[in-house]
Amino acid sequence: MPSSDGVWILGIHMTKFGKHPDKDIVDLGAEAVLGALDDAGVRMRDMGVMAAGNLIGGGGLGIGQQIQKQVGQTGIPVYNVANACATGATALRTAVMAVKAGECDLGLAVGVEKLAGAGLLAGKDRKADADTWTPSGRYGAVAAVDGRIGTETMPGVFAQIGMEYGHKYGGTSFELFARIAEKNHAHSTLNPLAAYQKRFTVDEIMNDVMIAYPNTRSMCSANCDGAAAAVVVSGEKLKSLSLEQQRRAVKISASVLTTDPWEEACQILPTVNTLTRNAAQTAYEAAGIGPEDLDLVELHDCFATAELVHYDNLMLCKEGGAVDFFESGATWRDGATPVNVSGGLESKGHPIAATGIANIWEVCHHLRGEAGERQIDNAKVGLAHVIGLGSACGVHILEKAAV
């Protein structure tokens, strides 16, 4: 039976995102875990479960166990999870499910990635064609298809996702997408943990190196190193902790994970829309909160073209109204629904498995009133969203403690 007191974030930590040439994934993961435990005021020996994610690897098998070997081997179950760019949210949700199921009172989730200088993350180098045309694979292909039958690069896939929205509803342009990136880069100047904190003009963004039209380099998520970790606690256990712990705890009012349901074309161009809408709908119902109640949103702006469609998918605007919504200024930090005040993936950076916990760290930071210069005043409710192609979508709704 789910506890009526729900599940809470007791402690959360993210490392500086950027280049960490002197640290490996275990160092970064351990730094995030120790930071989260310290923030929570608990120890590794208090944890009943651990979920860990590292997508691109670099440290052998079992990232969770490797981190335990540095911070505390207590014999608890570890779930090593992978769900593309939703890996961090999946790790958090795994820990939440264990607490909800009543298996333990305290759980730990961590995501870590080293990606600085990684370049394109999808699509393989094209080798010379074989000496004999031989069909292979599920399409009976005799030669490499990336670049011959569409593109497998993420910037190209997400460019098409934004363009498809424009085709359906109108109003998009190269400049519009560039202005979304302008907003997020402007926001990043207030975030000392962001990989990049440089403000760009729209001209600079549009004239940057073209990656996949309409996404230029500064409209793409930044590959970087980083880790984030969270300690979750049952509502019942929380009552036995100190008033200070109760005051800083953040309620997880909804924790939802979805995959892409079958629809025409979903196996042609990966869809990020229906599963995000489904996750958001479920999350709003679970939390008893509507999009109009949100004080801030951290959504998965892996590319500027992606941010636009998620305004609509998360129902921050009316269906088809994402362009007008952005044009209204609503998503700037002084707007009605600030989006990606952290700088988003385009400037804060996107160490894949860390992203789905780092965006929750950002929301918690504001709900606790600890966001310093970039604090959204009186923030009480926030939403964090990530999407991994393939596809998986995580949505968490978080609320400030009433204590």
Binding site: G140, V142, A143, T151, V209, E264, Q267, I268
Partner: protein, 134 residues
């Protein structure tokens, strides 16, 4: 000389070149890959028939890829083409790869081109969609 071979098994070169999908006999869902079963949860069928796909369509989404994995010539136009209700992934070819020459909603038709010959002298054939000039 052996007959040309298609780049993928859903490109049919006999007669007028066209694409073929695996269509679920239960619900009509169309797929281009080898199937184990239907992905439509309302269906779950395991029987498929080969059906031809319209050779003309409309560009529903595109990107101009300027930066790809090593060995892949750039720029090129990657697109989703709506062929009479069936979505197809393809490049738009025989067009200048710039935003002045490619547009959402553009009408296109299937076109094939030689990919090269293998050691036995067999030619492989690729496909894309080209603009229908008015």
């Amino acid at each position: 000389m052996a007959s040309p071979v298609p780049i993928v098994d859903y490109l049919v070169l006999d007669g007028d070149p066209h694409l073929e999908a695996n269509e679920c006999t239960g619900c009509g869902a169309r797929f281009f890959d080898r199937r184990n079963a239907c992905a439509n949860p309302a269906c779950g069928g395991t029987e498929f028939r080969r059906v031809p796909i319209a050779t003309t369509g409309e560009v529903r989404a595109f990107t101009i890829v300027s930066h790809a994995a090593p060995g892949i010539p750039v720029p090129f136009v990657a697109a989703v083409v709506d062929c009479d209700g069936t979505s197809v992934r393809a490049n738009v070819i025989n067009v200048a790869p710039d935003p002045e020459h490619v547009a959402l909603g553009m009408k296109v038709r299937l076109a094939t081109y030689p990919l090269g010959t293998d050691g036995a002298g067999t030619e492989a054939v690729g496909f894309g969609f080209e603009p229908i000039s008015n």
